[in-house]
């Protein structure tokens, strides 16, 4: 089975610029997560989608971050404008369903460096 695909793998931008990340989850997975992982820490949930609806975005800095999941499949996460502290790995994960006792599958992540 194909895994969760993310692109790009790496991105370097200057502060105040914009950036977008793309995620293609495993086919049939209704739940999609975006996580931010700062070096040396565990993943921090930014947003959780169930199909194309937002379930939890309580930790998403909405003044600069936005995310959408078109047609309940692919998703994009955007940062505009970026700050130095946004440097992190952005992980996308998908899951069959949030109310089912199954694991989440993660992509390789996008490593963002803001200079």
């Amino acid at each position: 089975e194909a895994g969760v695909a993310q692109s790009p793998r790496y991105k370097i931008i200057e502060k105040r610029q914009s950036v977008a990340f793309w995620c293609n989850p495993i086919s049939g997975h209704a739940t999609l997560y975006w996580y931010q992982q700062i070096l040396g820490q565990g993943p921090k949930l930014l947003i959780q989608f169930q199909n194309n609806g937002v379930v939890d975005d309580s930790q998403l800095p909405k003044d600069r971050f936005s995310a959408e999941r078109l047609k309940g499949v692919d998703s994009t996460l955007k940062i505009q404008p970026a700050k130095l502290e946004d440097s992190a790995v952005y992980l996308c994960a998908s899951r069959l369903g949030a109310d089912i006792y199954t694991e989440a599958f993660f992509g390789q992540g996008t490593r963002l460096t803001v200079v």
Partner: protein
């Protein structure tokens, strides 16, 4: 040990020894627990899970123990190999205080170093 800021707890073992990685979880209402392994430059990878109606579950070379009384989870790796070197995260899941949707909460992580 305790993790503070960027300093992950580290466990160092000899190849062939058994490893035990511990995790304290926070929500007594959590009913599902997962262990993930994260190698450098990769996303977390599922290792094993356990539901709250069990106290032990075994996989290939790995065993997860759940003690709900003290809200403690452990991962045991038998005959640890160099390929087991990674950061290990526990995650707990249960319904939020509003009782509507399930939240997956991640622990801080433990770095396992296997010495050949």
């Amino acid at each position: 040990g305790e993790s503070v800021g960027l300093h992950l707890p580290t466990l160092s073992v000899q190849e062939g020894d058994n490893s035990i990685i511990n995790c304290a979880y926070s929500n007594s209402a959590s009913d599902y627990f997962i262990w993930y392994k994260q190698e450098s430059g990769k996303g977390p990878q599922f290792i094993i899970d356990i539901r709250s109606n069990m106290d032990k579950r075994q996989g290939q070379r790995v065993t997860v123990l759940l003690n709900k009384t003290v809200k403690h989870l452990s991962l045991q790796i038998a005959a640890t190999q160099p390929g087991d070197s990674a950061v290990y995260f526990c995650a707990e899941e249960g319904y939020g205080s509003a009782g509507n949707n399930r939240k997956l909460i991640w622990g801080l992580g433990t770095s396992l170093a296997v010495n050949p």
